[in-house]
Each structure stands twice: as structure tokens, then as C-alpha cells.
């Protein structure tokens, strides 16, 4: 088509799981019903939990601050609806552990008006003011990682950001939220880019999109404001291209050094829906109250892309969309990197990109795990060219330090490609997730010991 620069470069290896996006990628984003009770944990993001500043029984307005940032690597939390703080107590979270949180009772006929503070003008604000605005809006990576965006955007002293990269890859099967956001919120995205070009000092922006979303790529590239240095690049579909390191390699042919951040090669990568949120909230000084979630999977009756208030209980969501009787597994996020939920009392948080329900028909009870036969399929799948076979054996023998020191364990970002291709059904990525946790714990213990 000549419109796009088709990526001739790509990252090494990777896999092609079934995409399963066709059920929802044509469905426009719809406002979801308001739950009478919202459950808002203060630890929805990576970093320090937010600090609650409201009292039990207090009435709050939609958009009002409920909790402020608990530090630099932290964000505040805003009221998604007008209502009354019923209780401040421990609430269940997706990870299984309890966390402090707020039970917010919505007023039955609460209006749509939102509390606003002073907005930020992209043309006159300083980079620091923009980053502060991003933090004040409570924005975290909406792709699923939920890392505070203002920290990610901060270009360290002595480093230079050349390219601002928007991640519109959405390589997880089933998920279509970024796809719909790109089709429906182009204006917000470009406004967000204005803020981010200014705050990072980047001279240009690239929007990376996989070839299964050509309509989104066409729509965005047809709407680029004339004064903006933005290009749209379409790359072939391959998992896990949505990982920022893989995306940088696909678009620029550069590799981010092991253990380093994208800024080492002059790049800052931000999820496209996160940028849209920045473009929508910052001009009005609002906080984030809702997010787009793809609800799909064979067990869901009313599949779709929904705008859901943060804190909506999962049970309420599933009741609203209707699920089949034989649903046996519910996933938060995509099937590759998401997690199966063990408790329907948890709620939608800022990092929830998808809800998938699978029935008995699809969920195969874990097949028997066979020994590794050294077939090498995992080596050909690993986007980082690690040796998952060797790492898996070392994990079995609990040789965690050896894994980290000599086999680059800590580079693994848990994309799950190795487990996906393993003919022996070895849960490799689970081994690695656990091993990484042990290594981190040991390193922390060592540091503590040194400080004493």
C-alpha cells in the first residue's frame, strides 16, 4: 500500500499463537454499567501504595482524590464515581494477597460531571510540570504492567531521548482494547503525543502497530496533525512484539543492553492507550477513573470492549456480560502473560486490560509433564535467545544463582513463549518467575546484611 513503512527488521525468534481477536475487534467501546459498590485497593500499580486521605463515611465527588501518591514511584487514586466511603479495610487483590483499600458506595443517581483541577497547557508547560501532571492524574501503564508512567517518562540526567515510541502492538491474543482506542481516540492520542514530545525532548514519535490492525494504522496516519513529527509503522504479527525491547528492535533495529532501559538507546516507549489517557486528562487536570477492558472468551455472552470504572468488582462485571454455566477459568489480561483469578471478589484495576472466560471445553486440565527431551523448540521461541531448556533444568535443581549469573535469568520478561511451545508441557515460565523472585529476595537480603 506504500502508505506504511513495512518493518523489514524484526526481533529474533518469537511465536505465532492463534490471535482470537475477531470477536471483539469490530465492536466499539461502550460505557459499562456502574456497580453500586466499588472496591479500590491502594496498590494498583508497581511501587509504593497510595496513601488514603479520606475518612470512612465521607462523601466524595467523582474525580476527587481518595489517596495521594505514596512516594516518587507511586500514583494517587481518584474516585471513579460520586459516593460515600463505606469502609477502609483489607480488600482482595488479583495476586491473592490482601491489600488496604476503600469500599466506595456509589450514589444511585450520580451525575456524569467530574471534578477538575487546573489543567496543563502542552505548549507552555515545562517537562517537569508535565511529568507532575501525569503523576497527579494517577496514570500508570495501561498495557498491563501498571508501572507509574511519569517515572517511565523521566529522562535521566545525562541521557537523551531521540524517539518517543507508542506501543500499539497489542500482541496478546484476544485483547482488542488498544486497537479500539486507536480507532476511536486518535485526537486524544495526538494530544498526548504533544505532551510527551515536550516532556521527553524527543524529536519524533513512532506509532508501532501490528499488521492485524491495519485499519487502526490507516486511521491514525490519516489524522496526523500537519505540524507533528509522527510516523505510523506497521510490523508483521509476532508474539511478544509488544514487549518494549522487542518493539525497539523491530522498529529501529537496535538492541537494548541487557539489564538496561530503552533510554540507553535513546528511546522512551509508552503504551498507546496510556498516551490517549494523558491527552484526555491533562488539559483538564482530571484523574483517571475508568479504563477500556476487552471482555471476551468462549464463555462470555456479551463480548465487547467496555469502558469500566476502576474498582468495579469482577463478579459484577461477569454478571452484567453473562457467562456460560460451565466457565472454569477466568483470566485477567491476555492468555499469555495474564493470570488466572482465584477469587471473583477482586476488582478491575488500572492494569486490567482484559477479562477472558474459558469453559470446560477449552480448558485442558494440565497434561502430564514429561522430562525435557532437549528438542530445542524453546530456544527457537525465546525472543531473547536465552536457553530455557537449560534454565528449566537448573531451576529444578534450585541452582538459582547459577541461572542468574551465567544464564541471564534476570533478562527474562516472562513472555511465556517457551512454555507455549514445550512438547513436554514443562511450565518453564512459572519456574523462571519463581526463580527470579528467589534471586531478587537473596539480593535484597545481601544488601540488608551489608547495611547492618
Amino acid at each position: 500500500m506504500g502508505l506504511f513503512n513495512f518493518g523489514h527488521k524484526t526481533f529474533r525468534h518469537g511465536i505465532h499463537p492463534p490471535e482470537n481477536k475477531s470477536d471483539t475487534n469490530g465492536l466499539p467501546i461502550r460505557q459499562f454499567a456502574f456497580s453500586p459498590l466499588l472496591v479500590l485497593p491502594v496498590a494498583q500499580h508497581i511501587g509504593a501504595p497510595s496513601k488514603i486521605i479520606v475518612r470512612e463515611g465521607q462523601e466524595v465527588m467523582r474525580g476527587q482524590l481518595l489517596a495521594e501518591a505514596g512516594g516518587y514511584v507511586s500514583v494517587p487514586l481518584h474516585a471513579p464515581v460520586s459516593g460515600r466511603v463505606r469502609k477502609i479495610a483489607n480488600v482482595p487483590t488479583a495476586k491473592g494477597e490482601m491489600s488496604t483499600g476503600i469500599y466506595l458506595e456509589a450514589f444511585p443517581a450520580s451525575g456524569q460531571e467530574v471534578l477538575e483541577t487546573e489543567g496543563i497547557d502542552w505548549a507552555t508547560a515545562t517537562p517537569e510540570e508535565i511529568l507532575q501532571g501525569v503523576q497527579n492524574a494517577g496514570i500508570v501503564g495501561l498495557g498491563g504492567a501498571a508501572f507509574p508512567t511519569h517515572v517511565k517518562l523521566k529522562v535521566p540526567e545525562g541521557k537523551h531521548c531521540e524517539v518517543l515510541m507508542l506501543n500499539g502492538i497489542e500482541c496478546e491474543p484476544y485483547l482488542t482494547t488498544d486497537h479500539r482506542v486507536m480507532l476511536e481516540q486518535a485526537e486524544d492520542i495526538f494530544m498526548g503525543i504533544r505532551y510527551l514530545l515536550r516532556s521527553t525532548g524527543a524529536s519524533r514519535a513512532i506509532i508501532g502497530i501490528e499488521a492485524n490492525k491495519k485499519d487502526a494504522a490507516e486511521h491514525l496516519s490519516g489524522n496526523i496533525p500537519e505540524d507533528m513529527p509522527v510516523t505510523v509503522e506497521v510490523v508483521p504479527v509476532k508474539y511478544p512484539q509488544g514487549s518494549e525491547k522487542m518493539l525497539i528492535t523491530s522498529l529501529l533495529g537496535k538492541e537494548v543492553p541487557s539489564g538496561g532501559l530503552p533510554i540507553e538507546v535513546g528511546v522512551v516507549v509508552v503504551n498507546v492507550a496510556t498516551v490517549a489517557e494523558i491527552g484526555r486528562l491533562l488539559p483538564h487536570g482530571r484523574g483517571i477513573q475508568e479504563r477500556v477492558v476487552t471482555i471476551t472468551g468462549p464463555g462470555v455472552e456479551k463480548k465487547g470492549n467496555y469502558l469500566i470504572p476502576i474498582g468495579t468488582p469482577l463478579r459484577f462485571v461477569l454478571e452484567e456480560v453473562g457467562v456460560a454455566d460451565n466457565v472454569s477459568e477466568v483470566y485477567l489480561g491476555g492468555p499469555m502473560m495474564g493470570m488466572a483469578v482465584s477469587n471473583l471478589d477482586i476488582s478491575i484495576t488500572k492494569g486490567t486490560s482484559g477479562i477472558l472466560a474459558f469453559t470446560d471445553n477449552e480448558v485442558q486440565r494440565a497434561d502430564k509433564v514429561y522430562p525435557c527431551i532437549k528438542c530445542g523448540d524453546c530456544l527457537d521461541a525465546c525472543p531473547l535467545s536465552l536457553n530455557p531448556s537449560q534454565l528449566g533444568i537448573l531451576a529444578k535443581f534450585e541452582a538459582y544463582d547459577e541461572m542468574a549469573d551465567n544464564h541471564n535469568l534476570m533478562d527474562c520478561f516472562e513472555c511465556g513463549s517457551c512454555s507455549y511451545v514445550c512438547p513436554s508441557n514443562i511450565p518453564l515460565v512459572q519456574y523462571f518467575r519463581m526463580s527470579k523472585a528467589v534471586v531478587r529476595k537473596r539480593a535484597a537480603a545481601k544488601k540488608d546484611a551489608a547495611n547492618v
Binding site: 528492535t249 525472543p383 535467545s385
Partner: protein, 316 residues
């Protein structure tokens, strides 16, 4: 893994067709003995039996295919027991064996019964489907008696008498030799099936065969009197069987694509060296075993560069 067994069936069927009842009993014995050994060893060591994962069956059948057609059954039984116990179980079972278990079994048999394992039986005998060779049923620890001893295999005929065999006969298997090694075409067919099912790394047989072809072609070109033609080298002896079904054992071969090529070239090299300049007429078994031993080192030396690292730093 049962696909590997399916892939070996054409060659096995041809072996039975060419050599008759004796080979049928030989293959059944070696396969059954391997599965039984696996099962018993698992039980005795208090593990869940892995006899049903087909890997022991593969080892047993493969061993049977490498043995002379009228090989005494009791020796084949011993070979299978050793293949599974010493070649596989002693290393920790499936996935941990350093060597191809079937070849370990065969190497022990070669050392223990050097006469029996080099006594060949003629193919396509009259009455091969009704009579059993007397050596097949030899009693344990007794000297087997042979009722029909064939001329030598093409390789030994060449080595010791400088007689070459017609290449068409070689490819079609109209020759004497080990039970399953004679029909090269059916072996290749099985290999293509496995490659199509993505259960075999095609680089290994291709690297081996190409190396043998090029190197022996070179020698043939230097002196056609002394060195046989490369086509003869490719289709004689156990090269096809070894290249397609033995060297490709995933567990005992390197994991990386580059490593696998080096491994294949090494096997090809050793085969040519042993056949042309060694004391034995055939060298496929030792070539593969040696390469098996080296494969972890090949793999280590040829690790792919990890994303975002510099090659030098990794080697340090």
C-alpha cells in the same frame, strides 16, 4: 514420540520382508526387552513407570534394526537391557542420557559378541517366512551355529576384497547387512515423515550425509582405485539408519541450530575416517557415540548471543 516408531515401521517391515521370521522375532524381542527393562527399573526405584512414553520402545526397535538378521535372540535381549539400564537409566532416565541408548547397547554387544555381530545372513532366502535361523534360537551362553552365512556386507566386501556393489541394489536394500539398515530409501522416507511432523532436526542428517559425500567424493577423485565412490559411501552400511534415526536423538545432540550442524559434520567426518582408514569396515556407531560425548561442549561453545549482550562478555 510414537511418531518415531511410525517412521521406523517401513524400514522394519522391509527388514522382515527381506530376512523373514528371524528378524521379526529379533525386533519383537529387542523392543519388548527394552520396554520391560524400563518398566521394571522404574518400579524398583519407586518411580512412576515411564514405559508407556514410547521412548523405550524406540530404543529397543532401533537396537534391533542395527543387529544382524540372524542374531541370537538372547543376545539381543541382553543388548536391550543394557541399552536401557546403562545407556539411559544410569544417567537419570529420559532427557538426561549422554549417549544414544540404543548405540550404547550395540557397542556393548559388539565388544561382548564380536563374532555374532559380524556374521551376516543372506537376504531373500527361500522359506524365510517358515523357517527360523538356528542361530536366532541359540541358547544363552552357547556358541550359535549358523546354517547360512552370506557373503560379506558391501562395506566389508569393499574393505577386505575391494569389491563394490551396485548402487541401485544398495538404495533398494537388495544386499546383506544389519536387519534394518539395508533399504536406504525407506529410511529416508521415515526421516521425511519426521521432518514434516517437526519431530526431527533435518540439519543433522543433511550435515552428516553432505560431509560424507563431499569428503569421500574428494578421496575418490584423488584415487578411484583405493577409495569407493561417494554414492557407495552414502548408501552402504548403517549410515542412513544412523544419520536419520540415531544421530537425531534430541537428548544426545546439541540444542542450537549452529551446534547441530557442527555435530553433524563431525559425525560425517568420523564415519569417513573410520571407514577409509580405520581397521573396521563400518564406523557409524562409534562416530555417533563420539559426537554424543562432544555435544554438550559443542553446544556450550556455540551458544547464541543473548539479546542485549555482547558476545565477548558472555564467553568470559
Amino acid at each position: 514420540m510414537r511418531n518415531v516408531v511410525w517412521a521406523m515401521l517401513p524400514a522394519s517391515a522391509f527388514a522382515v520382508y527381506a530376512f523373514g521370521l528371524s528378524v521379526f522375532m529379533l525386533l519383537v524381542t529387542s523392543t519388548a526387552a527394552a520396554v520391560l527393562t524400563e518398566h521394571l527399573l522404574c518400579r524398583w526405584s519407586g518411580q512412576e513407570s515411564t514405559a508407556d512414553d514410547w521412548s523405550a520402545a524406540i530404543t529397543g526397535l532401533l537396537l534391533g534394526l542395527t543387529l544382524p538378521p540372524a542374531f541370537p535372540l538372547w543376545m539381543a535381549f541382553v543388548g536391550s537391557v543394557i541399552a536401557i539400564s546403562l545407556g539411559k537409566f544410569a544417567f537419570g532416565g529420559l532427557g538426561y542420557n549422554t549417549f544414544n541408548p540404543a548405540l550404547v547397547g550395540r557397542a556393548v554387544l559388539q565388544a561382548a559378541f564380536p563374532a555374532a555381530i559380524t556374521t551376516w545372513h543372506p537376504a531373500f532366502l527361500e522359506g524365510r517366512f517358515t523357517e527360523i535361523a538356528s542361530s536366532t534360537l541359540a541358547l544363552p551362553f552357547m556358541e550359535p551355529t549358523y546354517d547360512a552365512v552370506s557373503g560379506a556386507t558391501p562395506l566389508s566386501a569393499f574393505k577386505f576384497d575391494q569389491v563394490t556393489t551396485d548402487s541401485a541394489d544398495l538404495a533398494l536394500g537388495l544386499i546383506s547387512g544389519s536387519a534394518g539398515e539395508t533399504c536406504a530409501l525407506l529410511i529416508v522416507l521415515g526421516g521425511i515423515y519426521l521432518v514434516a511432523r517437526k519431530m526431527m532436526n533435518w540439519r543433522i542428517p543433511v550435515a552428516i550425509l553432505l560431509t560424507v559425500y563431499v569428503l569421500s567424493g574428494l578421496m575418490h577423485w584423488v584415487d578411484a582405485e583405493v577409495y569407493p565412490s561417494p554414492v557407495f559411501m552414502l548408501f552402504s552400511g548403517g549410515l542412513m539408519l544412523g544419520a536419520v534415526f540415531m544421530a537425531t536423538d534430541m537428548v544426545a545432540s546439541p540444542l542450537t541450530s549452529k551446534g547441530v550442524v557442527v555435530y553433524g559434520v563431525l559425525i560425517g567426518l568420523l564415519v569417513v575416517v573410520i571407514r577409509l582408514w580405520g581397521g573396521l569396515p563400518e564406523g557409524v556407531m562409534y562416530a555417533i557415540l563420539l559426537a554424543n560425548a562432544l555435544s554438550p561442549h559443542i553446544e556450550k561453545a556455540l551458544q547464541p548471543r543473548v539479546y542485549g549482550t555482547v558476545k565477548k562478555a558472555k564467553a568470559a
